[in-house]
Symmetry: C2
Subunit: 412 residues, 2 copies
């Protein structure tokens, strides 16, 4: 693993000097290699799937593991899209003269070496490699053992693409062993790895946070809230609340708890209750919610802290914005919260005081997404406060160093 | 310690809603309280100094510990200066419309709760409290045991200042115990503390990096280099190299290793050698340097990795910019490096490829400083790559969350 680390560090130094055009040609070459290799990819993926079935993986995991034609096409499209994004490396900002006569500004530079640790989904292999390459970083990929053959086949395409433009294949390295100690080593090499990005279940991420000696850009959980404020347009509130829960259940930016102001609960909850029931969403409510929606279950203390990622929704009637924000502070995960309101003062307060990576007024929580925000691509959604917060695109994979231009200045 | 943490968390929520004017009035009030308390501060400081002498603290430490009139005046000036800086909190940037019709931008917000762990210097108490207050953060201060009475007296001034503008004193809390376990607890409470800033010796900082479960903004060491390139103006190179070493020896941005291009070594090293000798700087050189400066010691392998913080300088003659940058990569600490050159291409390359928090062309390394860069104040110089890099001012104590303004948008 140290060898991988040293090679990654060496190639990351090379990467800082490579021009945008070469990086873009590499991305296109990789996409073409993947297109050419569809048959092989599907064959290797079939081996993984069969092994998975024999090992008794559940349907969801097998579904994530499968490389369909569509999934492969999306991988290539995503690489081409990253090639089309502006190169963040070298961007200089805020250059200005200081009284001493020096010019000071900041230059955006790659982080260096990124370790990506992920589970099942093989498309992460191509996505992560593409984003790291474009942002000038070397990457060490550590995929799930259940996708080993699929990942290896994708990595071969990546390496062939790199070779076509004469880039060293050590820019994208893949940990071939399924040995668990590999993860421990990867997160224990701060001299070789600058940041770890885990993608997967909460168990994996918590393990990494608790044990990593390398900084982690983590996406822990998304217990997202919508607060329907007293003045809200009820039609708008209904659409936003329904969309945020029911558009897709398994995504981190889906709403998990609905907070409804007491003064309008009797108007909106019966309507929403019917729509959720029709969609097959199980509702769990506080006492007051249960008075309005009598057939639903009572929410337990645990419900307020739960990211269901499923057709389940907890609902609480609250007495004003203070109580709503207090609930979000107590139970939220700092991911994404929406207020639906017509009141300027309440919108302004919610935006200033709610401490989440995305704070939204009058729109679905599902907009908390790199593509919707215009990042072009995303390697994850960070619930960190330091460095990247919320959807992480190319910029989150870079840092800014200071540059100073002088003509002989010394300190006096 | 958990109680401190909970109180800090609670007051940090309050701080996000407090307007700039109140924060500024608090800073001015604290400065005035310190001015009024000069006698008490000096009395308490005298107790610390006496205890320190009895414990056998060395001169340097006693010097750092002492609160002179000048030192107290600087503390108050620094607080007033922070009051005059623009408030970073609430600043919204890059707000733009997306195709979906939502407006997306980023809002700068406080990090939350900051833990500052520092040694001897009591002025850090006022400086750190001022910067945290202005940036909307609660702070938990953990000073060195040798400055306990001085720190307590300063904290009392801070609390009186906060009370004058009716702010809760839990915004600035001080750990009263000298028990070492307090540090362990402080760096083990990620639920209550958002970031740890250690200020002090390398031992303290390494201990914290290796044991903290809270993210650390660290300043590890400054093994800073100057590379005098072949085309350099020799007069300019001489002044910059002399200033960067000799202006002050104990600072992290002082030069520790001088790299001189082989083609000009015979011209500049004899001149510089004399100036350093006159200033009492001990030189340690590579073989080629020793041929030009015959009376100096030979640099050992260890010298290249050493932050002397003293009148000692290591010198190496290198063959071109590649070798210079390779040396910096191998032995530097990623803090600050200067190139002296007249060649455009070499300046451009050095800026792009050297991976340090400050990269300087034709100016002293000593410009790597928050005040010189226009930050107005600095809480430290970060050698992290993630989040704040280089001098850390108010902006480094904040993060950016995404804000979204819609009028009913849902995902389709």
């Amino acid at each position: 693993m140290k060898t991988l680390g040293q090679q990654a560090r060496d190639s990351s130094r090379l990467l800082t000097c490579i021009d945008t055009d070469t990086k873009n040609r590499a991305l296109i070459a990789i996409a073409n290699e993947i297109r050419t290799a569809v048959k092989i990819l599907k064959k290797e993926n079939a081996c993984d799937l069969e092994l998975g079935k024999n090992r008794g993986l559940n349907e969801t995991l097998l579904d994530r593991l499968e490389l369909t034609d569509n999934c492969i096409e999306l991988m290539t499209k995503s690489l081409e899209q990253v090639a089309g994004l502006p190169d963040p490396v070298g961007e200089i900002s805020n250059m200005c003269y200081r009284p001493s006569g020096i010019q000071v500004g900041r230059m955006r530079v790659p982080l260096g070496v990124i370790g990506v640790i992920y589970e099942s989904r093989p498309n992460v292999t191509a996505d992560a490699a593409g984003l790291c390459l474009k942002s000038g970083n070397s990457v060490i990929l550590r995929g799930g053992s259940e996708a080993m053959k699929s990942n290896q086949a994708i990595v071969q395409c990546i390496h062939r693409g790199l070779l076509q433009v004469e880039l060293p294949i050590t820019m994208v390295q893949f940990v071939e062993t399924t040995d668990r100690s590999a993860v421990r080593q990867l997160i224990g090499m701060p001299d070789y790895v600058d940041v770890i990005i885990p993608r997967g279940g909460k168990g994996l991420i918590k393990h990494i946070i608790n044990n990593s000696r390398v900084p982690v850009i983590k996406h822990l959980d998304g217990v997202c809230h919508i607060y329907i404020e007293e003045s809200a347009d009820l039609g708008m509130a209904e659409e936003i609340a329904f969309n945020s829960k029911c558009h897709r259940y398994g995504v981190c930016n889906a709403m998990e708890t609905l907070l409804v102001d007491r003064s309008i609960a009797h108007k909106i909850l019966p309507i929403l209750g019917r729509r959720y029931a029709d969609a097959g969403v199980e509702l769990r409510g506080c006492e007051q919610t249960k008075e309005l929606l009598i057939h639903i279950n009572k929410a337990t203390r645990e419900d307020w802290d739960t990211e269901y990622l499923a057709p389940i929704l907890s609902i609480r009637v609250v007495n004003g914005i203070e109580t709503a924000m207090e609930h979000i502070h107590q139970h939220g995960s700092g991911h994404t919260e929406t207020i639906v309101t017509k009141a300027y003062a309440q919108a302004r307060r919610f935006m200033a005081e709610v401490d989440s990576s995305s704070v939204i007024v009058n729109a679905s929580t599902l907009f908390a997404d790199g593509f919707e925000y215009g990042l072009g691509a995303e390697i994850g959604i960070s619930t960190n406060k330091l460095h990247a917060r919320g959807p992480v695109g190319l910029e989150g994979l870079t840092s800014q160093k200071w540059i100073v231009l002088g003509n002989g200045q010394v300190r006096t």
